[in-house]
Symmetry: none
């Protein structure tokens, strides 16, 4: 059954997001997901692969969530804001996923397999490139525009989860506008 695989991944996410990688032994993952230690090695070659697999899954989910209902037919600003709001909403609703990604991506031992997501990330770059071509966005590398747009969003979601700001609709809108302003000439 894929049930077990899924249970393992879910337990791993929950445990790691609140205990960290190294504080999450395989035995605890096994107990939490209701399986034996041994069977984890049937689904994943080792702990590293389990975590990489989890990373890919979460990364894809968040990218898909950002691009839900995305259509290149709509006007640029609407598309940008839609993506932006999707990101914030998904992050706020899935705090464990964000915590996991933060840990993973800030771990020095992990090589970031950027290429794996090339296809999934393409729409973002198309969007930024189109904006530059049309003279709406400042002429900077797409990755730079990406960070100007989403780094503050990510940071503020963390601050919200930590209880330092209250991310309500009004604030979200204000921040969205600020990000839009940052990248538009």
């Amino acid at each position: 059954m894929k049930d077990k695989r899924a249970a393992i991944l879910e337990a791993t996410l929950n445990l790691i997001s609140e205990r960290g990688f190294y504080n999450t032994p395989m035995s605890l993952i096994a107990k939490t997901s209701g399986v034996s230690t041994g069977i984890i090695y049937h689904y994943f070659a080792n702990k590293e692969e389990l975590i990489n697999e989890l990373y890919k899954e979460i990364k894809l989910k968040i990218l898909k969530a950002m691009l839900a209902d995305y259509s290149e037919g709509e006007p640029l600003k609407e598309r940008f804001l839609e993506i932006w709001y999707n990101y914030i909403r998904y992050s706020l609703q899935n705090p464990t996923k964000g915590l996991f990604l933060d840990q993973f991506e800030n771990s020095p031992l992990v090589d970031h397999v950027q290429e794996d997501f090339a296809e999934d990330v393409a729409p973002f770059f198309h969007l930024f490139e189109q904006g530059i071509r049309e003279g709406v966005f400042v002429s900077l590398p797409p990755l730079v525009l990406f960070e100007l747009s989403f780094a503050p969003a990510a940071a503020l979601v963390k601050r919200h989860i930590a209880g330092f700001v209250e991310m309500d609709d009004e604030l979200m809108q204000a921040v969205a506008n600020a990000c839009w302003k940052a990248i538009t000439g």
Copy 2:
């Protein structure tokens, strides 16, 4: 001698920034800093305290670097940009410190002792509050303005270190402008 304490902290920073917390055994810290394991426990109660101490030291250094030559007499924009450039320059010149902070601040086991730096962080908040009062900045919580200003900077430094963007003077200026635009009405 404070020599040994300093050597331990330095080795810890270098090792952790490239191997991570849990991949940096005390024995390796000892060997790298040229001391015995035992003496580490003379200067620090345990590994956790060693790392917390390192965190405080680095955090203070970076805050001090950002506020070097800072004077409330200068115009708002100049002060903002000075801090902003100081931050980028220091981060680019001290990549290990940034990597260490990222790891530390994204570790779920660590309670971030925000208060410890209250005094050192105050000038930032004064700056943002003044900007809001004078109608130059959008009226948002100072912490939000802070993240709008610095989150992209931090993200792009990471991208630079990872080799995905080339942070030259021109790009720095463009990003600085974008951040300034983000927070100004």
Copy 3:
């Protein structure tokens, strides 16, 4: 298998009785009992629990040995002497157990869980209480009668093991009589 657990306990008893607690590393227990260090922690939470468990086991065995074939139907003196001889015989035949108990019970770090053996110790107290009621024993707290009866026995077994006295049948009988005299009016 309970085999391993038993092997661990046996090795622990032998090692501790001749080397002491702190001179008996877990690694030596593992090697002596032919298991890995790790598996010890499968059967016992930690070294302390292993030793407490061993204590309970030994204490129970010695109490059971003292009360072997004990029947409240027999005359008081016979019952007393039977217990007394059982104790001496068992102690002489199991010198390591005695050495272990002496160490354990004289360790200042251990709380003696008297209650755990309440049930197993009850027959002794019934015996002393009956003797007092019937006017055979001096009217003293049962625990005092107990020590008057068994403390010399225990001390002399130690002396025998250390080679300072030779505990033959004749001496045993003489000491048994002396103890009986001590507690009878």
Copy 4:
């Protein structure tokens, strides 16, 4: 100054009696006695010698206390009881010394240097031998008479300290009589 040596011995006694040998690091002894670690090694070759020295000192003190005012001129029973009461009183008033001795004498690593006290112990053996010669005591090895007399006393002092019996004057007298009865024909 002998002050330091004495301070070290006193701290060692107090610490060991409540924490045990192995839980009493030299550094703690140093701190408690208000000296440096290094200086301990000026007065004692090493930890073992320190503890042996302490043992001898305490053992002698307790033997001297038992024989205070002892005079071979007095009648046998008076002499016996005087020693017996002296022992109990001293033990009750110096519980740390008793705890230390119990630990030391039940440690399997220690060879009991019986001979060291031969001279100090002689009066006891003279007493028992005289009693046997005069037909007052049962004809048993003096060491056996010794244990019949003092083992219950020692055990009951422990029980008193542990709070299981209340060793008041009345009980002391009763136990003294019982011990006397044990060894007299």
